[in-house]
Amino acid sequence: MDYRGIFGASRTEAREKFEAESLQHIDALYRNALGLVKRPEDAEDLVQETYLKAIRFYKTFEAGTNLKAWLIRIMYNTFVNRYRRAGKERMALKALSDEPNGYGVISDQSAKSLTDAISTAMWPIVSEEIKTAINRLPDEYRLMVVLADVEEMTYREIAEVLGCPIGTVMSRLHRARRMLQEELMEHAKAAGIAGATESVDKPAAGNVSDPVDLDLYRRQRSGTN
């Protein structure tokens, strides 16, 4: 069902409505564009190009589905095709996926210190630290974190934006967040918020901390494995 069906109006009117609704997401598009291309001028270009593509293909948008996700998907594809230096980034991402996950689990004590520091505003520069830590993530990881936490998309929507399986979204998001936590931990120690003895428990060799198969767990529990 396209917009003409819903509004029962002339094409111009339907298109105007579509434009108006799309423009409501310009902030989301811009901040995600910044995350991808870094420079504001490039981000603005990317956003502009995205809107042009969107309006050219607006008839393919299925009304009632998530317009913001649709727009971000167009933007991400545009970014991949145009801005990302194909070879370099792909290699970097592949390397990240292949190596064993070196990111461990923060101890309870550390988690508590950091939570307290954040929520009691003992750590005034935490906002900068979080921004820095996020910007240091690889593009796709950062995009996932922002889509999940800022744009509040479901895993399925994120998977559709990025064109990858839901399982990949889960494991990468998991990994991205662990990376964030570790970085914050390091900065907290440097700032004297967390004690120097507080540590991150590195996983034992081979014991990667990716999400496990809950379905398998449930089958084992019920003895039907």
């Binding site: 094409r11 111009t12 298109r15 423009l23 310009i26 902030d27 598009l29 811009y30 901040r31 504001p40 603005e44 956003v47 502009q48 809107y51 042009l52 050219r56 293909f57 008839k59 393919t60 948008f61 299925e62 589905t65 649709w70 167009i74 594809n77 923060i106 309870d108 988690a111 508590k112 950091l114 939570t115 307290d116 954040i118 009691t120 906002s127 979080i130 921004k131 996020i134 974190v145 922002v146 999940a148 936490d149 800022v150 479901t154 895993y155 399925r156 998977a159 559709e160 839901i166 889960m170 998991h174 967040r177 964030l180 936590q181 914050l184 901390s209 999400p211 198969d213 809950l214 379905d215």
Partner: protein, 268 residues
């Protein structure tokens, strides 16, 4: 369910992507495990900070203007979608979605229910509100106001939150007001008021709530008073809504004592 398993799926829980069956297992474990509660608070804290930090970024005015101008130039008859952006390519639901990522088996069924505004969605949306309320009780923070007079708290909150903070009056004489602090529930401003009742803690969280929170709640009638409450992390959280303000209570008391105390309280 073991801590290790919970830890590995904490993200999915916080992102509200777990199916209801798993959520039950999770919350059973969480209600008994301080360690995982700590981790949960931490994971939530980071998520909240990320959102706060990045939500403020907005597009420059000049960009909006330029985009509008460019869009206006586009011909009225856009070209038909080429292969790349057809509906199936953009939202290949049938292809991608049904591939067996059945780690959480009931994902798809529940996703339909949760994401399109049904009553199930309402009660599931209320859950994080209650979780925040419980967090206010279990977290250990400095108080903004420490006094034995609840009325002092009312004047302190004036100008700091959008709604008048008039504490409930507990008829139970063993309830003693300890202090209060400015807080939040989800994105809303809130006032957290702390009491001591015979050595046990009792917390009231007040926040604006124009729409009812009691879908998904249990209902009890005590002393002729109808009370709605929810079980979160092993705590019973009764809630009273009056004049668009919600009063949510958490306590270390057992459920029947807490319900009795709340049923006998006067809401201003």
């Amino acid at each position: 369910m073991q801590c290790e398993l919970v830890e590995k799926h904490l993200d999915a829980y916080v992102d509200e992507e777990l199916d209801a069956g798993t959520v039950v297992l999770f919350e059973n474990h969480l209600s008994q495990c301080r360690s995982c509660q700590t981790r949960l608070a931490f994971t939530r804290s980071i998520k909240r900070q990320v959102k706060e930090q990045f939500s403020t970024v907005s597009a420059p005015e000049s960009l909006s203007t330029r985009v509008r101008a460019e869009l206006a130039k586009e011909p009225n008859e856009p070209t038909e979608g080429q292969g790349r952006y057809t509906h199936k390519a953009v939202f290949g639901m049938s292809a991608a979605a049904t591939v067996a990522f059945a780690i959480f088996g009931a994902y798809q069924a529940f996703e339909g229910q949760f994401k399109n505004g049904s009553t199930v969605a309402e009660s599931s949306m209320a859950i994080p509100v209650f979780e925040d309320v419980v967090d206010r009780h279990t977290q250990d923070h400095l108080l903004d106001v420490q006094d034995t007079e609840p009325d002092r708290a009312t004047s302190w909150f004036r100008g700091k939150v959008r709604f008048p903070v008039r504490p409930v009056q507990f008829r139970d004489p063993s309830v003693r007001f300890v202090g209060a602090r400015l807080s939040h529930v989800r994105e809303r401003q809130a006032a957290a008021l702390y009491y001591n009742i015979s050595g046990r803690k009792l917390t009231t969280v007040m926040f604006e709530a124009p729409s009812p929170l009691w879908s998904g709640c249990e209902r009890a009638v005590i002393s002729g008073r109808e009370l709605y409450y929810r079980n979160v992390f092993g705590y019973t959280v009764p809630v009273i809504q009056h004049n668009n303000i919600a009063y949510a209570f958490t306590s270390d008391l057992d459920r029947s004592s807490l319900l009795r105390v709340v049923a006998n309280a006067k809401v201003p």
